[in-house]
């Protein structure tokens, strides 16, 4: 892997705020900051929880409709038509 492509990828990581650069004289000191990844993980978890809550609600309402007898689940005979 060339030095060029290493610095290109480090620049991308810097832009994503995952890597911080500090200059001391001619040296560039790089450090990793995983906080943005934590934020991303938290956001994904929020989305997951939201979809799960919605699917819970869907499951509950379909079951409630069954109980209410509006659409009684029928025992379907399968086999000959599939």
């Amino acid at each position: 892997m060339s030095l060029n492509s290493v610095s290109k990828h480090i620049r991308i990581l810097e832009r994503a705020r995952l890597v911080r650069r500090r200059r001391v004289g001619r040296e560039h000191l790089l450090s990793i900051d995983p906080k943005p990844l934590d934020e991303a993980a938290r956001w994904i978890e929020t989305q997951r929880a939201s979809w799960n809550a919605q699917l819970d609600a869907l499951d509950a309402l379909l079951k409630a409709d069954d109980v209410a007898g509006r659409r009684k689940p029928k025992k379907r005979r399968r086999g000959h038509d599939r």
Partner: protein
């Protein structure tokens, strides 16, 4: 070049038939009871134009009014539903949701795939953070 975007996937079994589960996404009366709903929220508006290219708009009040909008891309009853999805209040970007339903054990199995679940993030980092990982993997393979 399209950049792969972070994807969220959820599997769920329902005792109800594939048709009933599918229809619950597109019938405004049913959808209004659960889709984009929150326990303490109330639905102000559920507009669903259930055809390919048709749009939906679901407005929920839970403290604030939050508008959920999108366009249907695939409607293949009862197997597959694909729609774009955005919440303009939070992000100008749209994401994509795919719902796959397969009959199983008297009920059905649903797989929900939410692509580009991190729109703001991808916007902010331009290449997107999966792009970073991809680029890195490619370079290391060179």
């Amino acid at each position: 070049m399209t950049t792969p975007r972070p994807t969220l996937r959820i599997h769920r079994h329902f005792d109800a038939s594939a048709e009933r589960v599918f229809d619950a996404w597109l019938d405004p009366k049913t959808a209004g009871r659960w889709l984009f709903a929150t326990p303490n929220g109330t639905m102000l508006r559920v507009d669903i134009d259930a055809r390919v290219g048709g749009t939906f708009c679901v407005v929920r009040r839970d403290g604030d009014d939050v508008e959920h909008v999108g366009t249907y891309e695939v409607i293949d009853r009862p197997r597959r539903l694909v729609f774009t999805f955005g919440v303009p209040k939070f992000s100008s970007e749209t994401t994509r949701v795919t719902v796959d339903i397969v009959s199983a054990g008297g009920g059905c199995d649903l797989t929900l795939t939410h692509e580009n679940v991190l729109p703001d993030w991808a916007e902010r980092t331009k290449e997107g953070w999966t792009g970073i990982v991809d680029g890195l993997a490619k370079s290391l393979a060179e």
